[in-house]
Symmetry: C2
Subunit: 416 residues, 2 copies
């Protein structure tokens, strides 16, 4: 499919962008090529799309069901009992709602860890975005459970062929306190052989660090290094408790991190991402799932991240707008091996068009500052993913059905 | 003017709301009254509108013009030189843009402090919302300047009659380090006589506290108490550096505070609002002006405030959703003497309708959690202020002209 975007702002100039099968073929002042679909870009800015580095998509089902509770009561009294009752159909609709919400916020790729892998894979495929999907891998140090999980993951890996190019299978070892060394070693070997990303919670809480010290006499990062799990395919999420030594290890192995500020604040984990130690470690932003953030909006997350960086380092020039924007787009694309994410001839980034005629973006002095500090996902008008238009004029095909069905499914779930 | 809102969700039940001249006359299941205007409330929730406790409206003109700079360079190199060139016309359009943005975000009343008082008063009146407007009062301890400012303020107070019921005149003594004791004492007397609110920056930074200690041997709050400025008409903004003793003083005088978390983070002031000390002190939320927050969205500010409260107290149950919502609506209304802000027969709150058929609000388990944790100003569909419909289906009369003119005015200003 060919798409022609006419008269759109790109790097402060009005241009036409011609896209063939997802690849940018021409950027010029007056493109004469014939297209299957032409989009009017007037008063809009073309930008690469956002990537959500960490979420649990189907947890949209629990949005607003239980907030403002102590962590233990919340998990044990509310979330876990509901998760035990989840069906494939629930997860399908929950994930579809998440995809819809992310498309509306200009996100075209996300990194997921949840139950009922295939339901999420189906939802992602039906919605036409990019899902890096892992099944939650928890064995609680039980060899039998570990072996079951390993077999389950091999099956899912094979199954994932069916959902290409939308779905990329990844490993989702939950955390060092829920997954055995043996299972992690198996994932390391399989990941090396098949080039599979490993997506894991890392140093989110003080309890996790304490657990690693007690069990292994090492920090979580030191432990993962000691068993060879760290590589450029390792993506550690949260990282609030990382220290200088941990960060040196991550840097050495070219491992990646995901910074998830909103969830860290809401769950009151006690510390934030250690900005001063991040030199040379690629990191992107994640929203987390809707139970601990409630909103799948990377623009919102960018504002939290940038302002918290300034506040906690006491340096108002920390994480400036353009740097923050790049972290959420091109750095994230590098982390997920999505190629060069800039809007240039020969590249294949997903593209969003932002409507500049909105009060919060006027007077339009600096699009990056306006996006990071003055806006939210609703500024996105059009979303193009892998050469297909997923949203135009803020409308996504079938959105009414998704809202209706997810509502029904969620209400049935809590009454089950 | 009479307005009938049909079939809207109010306290989880579908109702009709009949409003006459801004006052709620009937709430029932099937209202038969004749109305000048009927609004379809299907799939919408009726809520009281938001109040913005502190801003500098016309600073929308500087949005995105200069960010990510050290405070001193930013103020001295960028903001002050531009402010010196501001005309009445600039401030009129900048304020109009701010009003438009606030209406779009469900805000119908705001507390302002800026230059060119009458331009803001005109903008507020033309837009039909409620402005508590003060002129920045700075005398730099110069008696002659102080006297000029006093005369200027008396003139504005008299002029304000002309802009009723939209505009309420207030005093805007900038801060204890820019206004002399004599001027503050004069404002105290005039405020007592005429029942005028006093709107002042209070304990925003360490430098301010230090200044008060050096000049008066007291904290800013102790100094204000010593000259009798504190009362139920005193509204102190920011308050980051307040200590236990200060808060006891504010409590004793029934003074009010405005919590402005986004600006405090962005400017890296070093400390946040001291939640543990707030028992018994009424406070509401403010966005600050667009140079230090960039976005006039109280829903966004609520999320920052609620999450920061949890994180900094290490208590995940701190500032729960409904409490946060009430602070931004009914507590704020009390602070500004706007009466009972709940949607009940006999009350005259401004009303917003929120569209619940949006992905980020589904499955709709709890409207307060959804608003505070999962949304932003764009969920607001309809705004009714003082019995007039200012927005319906997210459209505000004349919005295109405001965007166009403000853009022109802002570009001319920076090139002047």
């Amino acid at each position: 499919m060919n798409i022609l975007i006419k008269d759109v702002l790109l790097d402060r100039k009005i241009r036409d962008i011609f896209i063939k099968d997802g690849r940018i073929e021409e950027i010029s002042e007056n493109c004469k090529r014939e297209a299957d679909r032409t989009i009017n870009g007037k008063d809009k800015v073309a930008l690469p799309s956002f990537i959500n580095g960490h979420t649990h998509a189907a947890m949209t089902l629990f949005r607003g069901y239980a907030d403002d509770m102590p962590l233990k009561d919340w998990l044990e009294g509310k979330i876990w009992p509901l998760e035990a009752k989840l069906t494939e159909d629930d997860v399908y609709w929950g994930s579809k709602l998440a995809c819809l919400e992310m498309i509306k916020n200009g996100i075209t790729a996300f990194n997921d860890m949840y139950w009922h892998w295939e339901a999420t894979a189906k939802a992602v495929t039906d919605m036409g975005i990019r899902g890096f999907i892992s099944a939650v891998f928890i064995d609680m140090f039980d060899r039998k459970k570990g072996q079951e999980q390993i077999e389950h993951n091999i099956r899912l890996f094979e199954l994932s062929e069916k959902y290409k190019p939308y779905v990329t299978f990844t490993f989702g070892p939950h955390a060092i306190y829920t997954v055995s060394r043996e299972s992690l070693e198996w994932m390391r070997n399989f990941s090396e052989k098949k080039k599979i990303l490993i997506h894991m919670h890392l140093s989110e809480t003080q309890e996790e660090t304490q657990f690693a010290r007690e069990r292994y006499g090492l920090s979580p990062t030191e432990f993962l290094e000691s068993i060879g799990v760290l590589s450029d395919k390792f993506i550690g999420c949260h990282g609030c408790m990382l220290d200088e030594k941990d960060c040196a290890i991550l840097r050495k192995h070219n491992a990646k991190l995901v910074h998830i500020p909103v969830s860290n604040l809401k769950l009151a984990v006690g510390r934030v991402f250690p900005h001063f130690l991040m030199e040379g470690i690629p990191f992107c932003f994640g929203t987390d799932g809707c139970a601990s953030n409630n909103h799948l909006d990377i623009i919102e997350t960018m504002k939290f991240a940038s302002l918290l960086a300034k506040f906690f380092t006491n340096i108002p020039t920390m994480m400036p707008a353009k740097v923050t924007f790049d972290i959420a787009t091109k750095v994230a694309a590098e982390i997920f091996f999505l190629g060069d994410w800039e809007i240039k001839v020969g590249n294949s980034p997903d593209i969003i068009l932002v409507d500049t005629m909105r009060p919060e973006l006027v007077p339009n002095f600096d699009i990056y500052s306006d996006i990071v500090y003055a806006s939210n996902g609703y500024i996105v008008d059009t979303v193009i993913c892998m050469g297909k238009v997923l949203m135009e004029n803020r409308y996504v095909q079938g959105e009414e059905e998704i809202l209706k069905n997810t509502k029904m499914v969620a209400k049935a779930l809590v009454e089950r």
